[in-house]
Symmetry: C2
Subunit: 234 residues, 2 copies
DNA sequence: TTATTGAGTGTAAAATTGACACTTAAAATG
DNA sequence: CATTTTAAGTGTCAATTTTACACTCAATAA
């Protein structure tokens, strides 16, 4: 009876994560040097262990390679081309992750030999990691147009201009600031703080933070977060 | 160097497909009896073979178990809970599929021991197949709200009332037929035929078919296909 | 011929979107 | 201290889209 199982070929199962960050100017992806003989830039990845689920494994690997915890993590796609890893056939489940760069930036690059790359200036990547990144960017654009996940890339407290810059970066465009803030504020997701940002502009912009209970309600609802989402496709 | 690979545990990799169909009244999922000792209703599934990609495997299995070819197929999610298959640890990549029931209905149930179940009246399912179906339904609702994929579930020629019934079934609601047809027609995806449907209503409804070139352009674009998509979430 | 049934269509009010420009707060400058 | 500079912040109007809602029409059946 269990014969049916015994005849089957097992494969290695890997997890790879596309980690997005935003440094205030442009959208970045976190990469590490990896490979057997030649070192190639590659995604954060590792192997599935016997006692863990896919999401647990992705979370563990992220922590081991970056020290990051409590980050936004979502399954992107499973990649299983027979030739994708030339050494051993491996199925890789890719996750994408949104992190608040500011909190970790220094730690990451020092201790972990990791580097942030602009999504418009990526080095050649290991295996099919380039495809994974492409898909992740498309998915991020798609998702961020409909769900208020942008906040995951910003610090706890942020200003509306910062948020607009983030969306400008994600969509490689420039939104109208009047329409943008009207739209964002109409979601009622943001709580205005008394505090103002110092040092960046003369006048200073008010800080906001996410209304967490409302955010929980709405993460999975459809909101039109950006103007003309019709232009987005995947 | 390749040591790194040798130390890893391999796992079986399966593919499972949630196959949606529409019989004119309600949304259905195609299931088969499967299992070792006790036969349980389960999704169409099979094992990944050494020489095929995930999508190829899903397509092959679909064909072997149902005879279906040329169907809409999209990766849903990879499921990898350590306990999901109690016999051997297996990672399953789930796909969801939209088929035109009419073309195949009889063949399927006869030759392949398969049965269509209303999504509101599912039997207990094998392993985590219930979770897979739940997720697939949510994904279908999400996707069909934004992309004109509903046609994949209807015959080549269909009427607007048929299409509305399909959407009513997907969302378990009743859309306003005036607003619905205005919205659908405004996409310019439908070509009106001269022919009318006979036998169903006295007056008869005009048949339409999809404008294929335009459909190709638009499948991946965001269209608001249904009213108030804000109500949909996943 | 008349009745029945589902197909097909229009309108007006409300809400949302998109385009567009001036004022203001605060620091920097001289 | 007055002036300049820079980015923040805000409002309006026209166009479009959405929603709610009800009657006529075509064809078959009686």
């Amino acid at each position: 009876m269990v014969e049916q199982y015994k005849q089957q070929h097992p494969y290695l199962v890997a997890l790879d994560s596309i980690i997005f960050g935003f440094d205030g100017e442009s959208l970045k992806v976190l990469l590490v040097k990896r490979g057997l003989e030649e070192q190639t830039w590659s995604l954060m990845g590792g192997w599935l262990q016997p006692d863990e689920s896919l999401e647990q494994a992705a979370t563990r690997i992220l922590f081991e390679l970056t020290g990051l915890t409590n980050v936004y993590l979502e399954q992107l796609n499973a990649f299983g081309d027979p030739q994708r890893d030339p050494i051993v056939r491996t199925v890789s489940v890719a996750y994408f992750s949104l992190v608040k760069v500011a909190d970790y930036a220094s730690k990451l690059t020092e201790a972990f030999q990791a580097r942030w790359f602009s999504i418009y200036d990526l080095p050649p990547l290991l295996f099919d990691h380039g495809d994974m990144v492409d898909l992740a960017i498309r998915r991020l654009r798609y998702k961020a147009a409909l769900h208020p996940i942008g906040f995951e890339l910003l610090p706890e407290k942020f200003t509306i201009p910062q948020l607009k810059k983030l969306y400008d970066a994600i969509y490689n465009t420039e939104f109208d600031k009047r329409n943008f803030s009207r739209k964002i504020l109409s979601t009622n997701l943001l709580i205005k703080l008394d505090e103002k940002q110092k040092g960046f502009s003369k006048r200073g912009a008010f800080f906001y933070q996410v209304d967490m209970p409302r955010y929980q309600q709405l993460t999975h609802s459809l909101l039109n977060v950006i103007p003309s989402p019709d232009a987005i496709s995947w």
